[in-house]
Structure formats: C-alpha cells, structure tokens
C-alpha cells in the first residue's frame, strides 16, 4: 500500500483515498499539566497564595501580597468543560484594591529545551497560539502575558469573558519575538502568566512585544478586587502555529513523568510515590552515631532541592530507632546521600530496614 504525505500540512492520504487529516504531532502542547490533572503537593486541597506557592503541578501563583486568594484543584466543584475532568480554581479572599506595584498571577514557566525550536529572539521566530478554557464569576477583559525568564521581554495579551460562571474557550495567537533573550536549555524558556490582578507598573498595552516586565494588560479585570470572585481555568495549550488545535491529551503516566522532571514527593503510603518502605528500604550504620542511605529519584532538570519531614524508623531485628532529622548531601539530578550523624545507637556496618512513619514526606524539587 502506498501513502502520500502532503507536504505542507500534517495529513496522510492512503492509496484507497482515505486520509488521516490530523497527524499526531509529538509534544504539540508545550504546557505541562495543562489539564490540571496532577496535584502532587496538595492532592486537591486548597492553598492560600502566600509566598508564591505551587498549586497543581507546574502551576505557580506569584503574588506581591499575602492571602488575597486561595487556589485549589477543582475549587467550587463545578462541572469541567466537556473532555476535561479537572481544572484549577482561584477564589478571591477579599475586595483588595491592587496597588501600583502589585501583581497576582498564575504562572507556568516552560523549560528552554521545550521551546528551543521556536527560534525566539531571532529573525526566524515562530508564531505560537495559546488556547484554554476559562470560567469566572466576573466578566470583562482579562489579561495574560508571555515573558522570558528574566522578565525583561514580554508580551501582554487580552481576552474577554462574556458570560459569568460559564466555561468559555479562548485562543490567543502571538507572533514570535525577534528580540529578547530566550533560554533554550534547562532554564526557564518562556513564562505563561494569567493575570488575577496586576498594578499599573506591570501592565502594558495588549498586542506587542516590549523590553519590559509586563505581567498583564492595561484595563484588565482584577479577580482579587472582588470578594469571593472566582477564576477557573483548564485545557491550557501552547502550540506552534497560528491556529489552535484540539487539546493534546497525553497518557497520564507521560504527563506525570513530565511533572516529575521538576518536582516529586514521596509520601507515607499516599499511593503516588512510595508506600511505607522508603526507597531501597535499607540504610547502613556508618558509625555509632551516623546512619546513611542513598535515594534515587526521577531525573530532574538540575540538581534538586530536598526536604524531609516526619519520622523514619530504622529497624534491625528487634531493634528500632526513630529519626526525625535528616540532612541531604551531594544532591544531583537523580540521586542524593541522606544521613543523620547526630543520633547514637547504630552499629557500624549493620544494615537497617527503613520504614517511613505516618505523615513522613520527602520532597524533591527542581522547579523553574
């Protein structure tokens, strides 16, 4: 059987005349977790936007003032748009008047490796289209902005929500920037930022690139300005070209692994990381007051930040010792040495089974 691959469009015509009009395009969507399905940190719990926390994986709130809104996977428990099962929802905690230098945004920073083909910052910069489903209790003009990692080159754009409390599909097409510095490595490539309330210092006129730190558009609606206002979003896609195509569903396992390049956590028996046996489950007495083990984790984009909370039990036959303080040393992109050199009771050379106790957790982060 012969096939004809049409040269200028992603379609295949077979010898019997039938055609596959929409060929698969690997990694069409440069946004990770655009369907807001993965929430390792919070498991669906609400988070107060203080200190710029992450909500669902890869989506970070960046705020200049604490506690002006909460964010939660499937906040308000409304029915998602057709074809989606999750969204992330912002709920305003007060009627806050945004100051000149304020900013409240929902951000995903796309890694430079994942936009390297766009040619941004060159004469061959490619056009991209952002599409998403959005629903708000407010109507009017809203803002979003693209920016490079250093926040010194950006593009404000606007979109309109016409009907309150109704899912609406939006698309924004943006000609690629021929200037500015855009990372094409493991650092931040492009920031995709949805404005929830941005002061005039960080607002620009929609529709053009500028050598400035714009986080929103002049005149955009402030979600944090109305007590109880809601802003829900899902199905976020950033793709090459001037036309939005249907959402690029990837296998859940693939999407989860994409998230784990930036963050993972190992909880006590939470079903997403490990059960109560930690890693290889074996530590070694390095000295009478020093026990060590190594941890291997999903490869990160760079050397990871690690934290531990809770208690691990080191057992050896009838002997058990609980330890709730560990340090990490020589962290790499996929392995680290864990040790405690301040607790006595170990025997040099002895192996110990490691058991995580309730509420124990290790977090491994290499976020952008």
């Amino acid at each position: 059987m012969t096939t004809i691959i049409n040269g200028s469009s992603p379609s295949i015509t077979f010898s019997d005349g039938s055609a596959q009009t929409s060929a698969t395009r690997p990694f069409l969507n440069r946004i990770i977790n655009g369907a807001m399905a993965i929430d390792q940190r919070n498991a669906g719990a609400s988070v107060t936007a203080t200190g710029s926390p992450f909500s669902v994986d890869r989506w970070q709130t960046i705020v200049s003032q604490a506690s002006k809104f909460t964010i939660q996977q499937n906040a308000g428990a409304v029915t998602p748009p057709v074809g989606f099962t999750n969204y992330v929802g912002v709920t305003s905690s007060s009627a806050y008047s945004v100051l000149t230098g304020d900013y409240f945004i929902l951000n995903q920073t796309v890694e430079g490796f994942n936009i390297a083909d766009l040619g941004w910052g060159t004469a061959n910069a490619k056009t991209i289209t952002i599409s998403f489903w959005v629903r708000s209790s407010l109507t009017g003009t809203f803002g979003l902005a693209l920016s490079n990692q250093d926040w010194n080159y950006s593009y404000p754009a606007s979109y309109t929500i016409s009907v309150a409390n109704t899912w609406e599909y939006k698309t924004v097409t943006i000609a690629g920037p021929t200037a500015g510095t855009w990372n094409t490595n493991n650092n931040g490539g492009v920031r995709v930022q949805f404005g929830l309330g941005v002061g005039s210092t960080y607002n620009g006129t929609a529709g053009s690139w500028a050598a400035a730190q714009y986080l929103g558009t002049t005149g955009a609606t402030s979600v944090v300005g109305t007590n109880g206002a809601t802003f829900y979003i899902t199905g976020v896609q950033l793709e090459v070209g001037s036309t939005a195509t249907s959402f690029d569903y990837r296998p859940y396992g693939t999407e989860f692994d994409l998230c784990r390049r930036y963050y993972e956590q190992w909880d006590y028996n939470n079903g997403t990381g490990i059960n109560n046996y930690m890693g290889a489950g074996v530590g070694m007495g390095y000295a009478s007051n020093d026990v060590r083990t190594t941890l291997q984790y999903y490869p990160k984009r760079t050397s990871a930040t690690l934290s531990f909370s809770g208690t691990f039990r080191f057992g050896n036959g009838g002997y058990n010792l609980n330890i709730s303080s560990f340090l990490f040393d020589q962290a790499g992109s996929n392995t680290v040495l864990i040790y405690n050199n301040s607790t006595s009771g170990f025997t040099q050379g002895q192996a110990y089974q490691i058991t995580a106790q309730a509420a124990s957790k290790i977090t491994i982060s290499a976020e952008l």
Partner: protein
C-alpha cells in the same frame, strides 16, 4: 533564613539549609532555590554558620561571592 551545615564527609556541605522548611539547597547555578538564596542573602536575609552563629552582612556577602 539560611544555615550552613556539615556534609557527610565532615567538611562544609556544598549546600545550604533553608530554615523555613529545612530544605537542603545544592550549590547548583541552575537551581532556582539556589538563585533565590543568593539574592535574599545579598538583600539582607539572615545567614548562619554551621554552629548557628549569625553572620554579619559583610561575612555573608563574602560567602556568597565565593560561591559558583
């Protein structure tokens, strides 16, 4: 606030503890927590040595300048 600590080999670790959540941040230039650590200390955030003594701003600045 941040704190130096002794690594597994008995010398100063090539990492820093963020006391807010006891996270160990490696000295890796691509790590955004490391970038934030350097910015915050230079801006006046407290840095303790491995014994818990608070460094002066001059000492902290010198330490930051010695890092990759």
């Amino acid at each position: 606030m941040y704190k130096q600590y002794i690594g597994a080999d008995g010398t100063l670790a090539r990492a820093i503890v963020r006391l807010l959540d006891n996270a160990c941040i490696p000295f890796a230039s691509d790590n955004t927590d490391y970038q934030t650590f350097k910015k915050e200390v230079l801006a006046g955030a407290e840095l303790q040595d491995a014994d818990g003594n608070v460094m002066t701003q001059e000492q902290a600045n010198q330490f930051i300048a010695s890092l990759p």
